[in-house]
């Protein structure tokens, strides 16, 4: 007996866990992990709604583009983290205080 609500509950849990990961971890790469979780929770909602409510495939298209943008974002974000490590020798979030190095 799987209804729309069950999918909403799962994506809510994912969303909350993603936010808690972003808040509680000190390592910048772990924060990027949290961002991935949150993006996936949103994409899951789109596909669930397109199955239960709208019955056309717009939800699929939207979650496809969410995956595309999450990939681009992860690529650039990790490049920044590596550059930050090479300048600051550490990837502890509290070190990222100035805008210029």
């Amino acid at each position: 007996m799987i209804t729309l609500a069950s999918y909403l509950v799962i994506s809510m849990i994912l969303f909350l866990v993603g936010i808690m990961v972003m808040l509680s971890r000190k390592n910048i790469v772990a924060i990027l992990l949290g961002i991935e979780l949150i993006l996936n929770a949103a994409a899951l909602n789109f596909v669930a709604y397109s199955k239960f409510v709208t019955n056309n495939l717009d939800g699929h298209i939207f979650s496809l583009f969410i995956i595309v943008i999450a990939a681009a974002e992860a690529a650039v974000g990790l490049a920044i983290v590596i550059r930050f490590f090479q300048l600051k020798e550490t990837i502890h979030i509290d070190e990222a205080t100035q805008l210029r190095n």
């Binding site: 496809l64 595309v68 690529a75 090479q86």
Partner: protein, 147 residues
């Protein structure tokens, strides 16, 4: 209980289950049958005889990341092209071949530009030639970080 269409995915799950079963079976058999004499020397990492110094998890050169970066961009590009490729023949038969060809080629040409840029800037070659990015003077960290 009619067997709904989703049963088509059952073999995928069954195959993964069988792989895990094979792994556990093999592992369990080896736990049962193999000798267990963990001497201290056996448990150190193999270093052609020398005593391993320091952890292996030291930082590596950046070119591994550049490869992963270019891979992820082209991976996503080919993901977007798969649906368009599947309906290419259909549209072609319906006479809209030129339209879908234009959509397809414009998508690819933008990304060919990407690989041309990386090629020209020397990101693709494994052994970095440093004169490529020597124009700007940048405050570099004191300790040189590379493998």
């Amino acid at each position: 209980m009619t067997s709904t269409q989703i049963d088509g995915l059952m073999p995928v799950v069954i195959m993964m289950g069988l792989a895990v079963l094979l792994f556990l079976g093999g592992h369990f058999a080896s736990v049962l049958l193999s000798r267990k004499k963990p001497t201290q020397l056996k448990q150190t990492a193999y270093e052609c005889g020398e005593i391993p110094v320091g952890s292996a998890w030291s930082a590596f050169n950046i070119r591994f990341y550049v490869v992963g970066l270019i891979f992820i961009i082209f991976d996503v590009e080919s993901v977007l092209m798969f649906p368009v490729a599947t309906i290419f023949n259909e549209m072609n038969a319906m006479g809209e071949g030129v339209y879908i060809l234009l959509v397809f080629l414009s998508f690819i040409s933008v990304l060919i530009e990407g690989i041309a840029y990386c090629w020209r800037k020397g990101d693709l070659d494994w052994v970095k030639s440093y004169q490529v990015s020597a124009r700007k003077s940048v405050v570099t960290p004191s300790k040189k970080v590379s493998v």
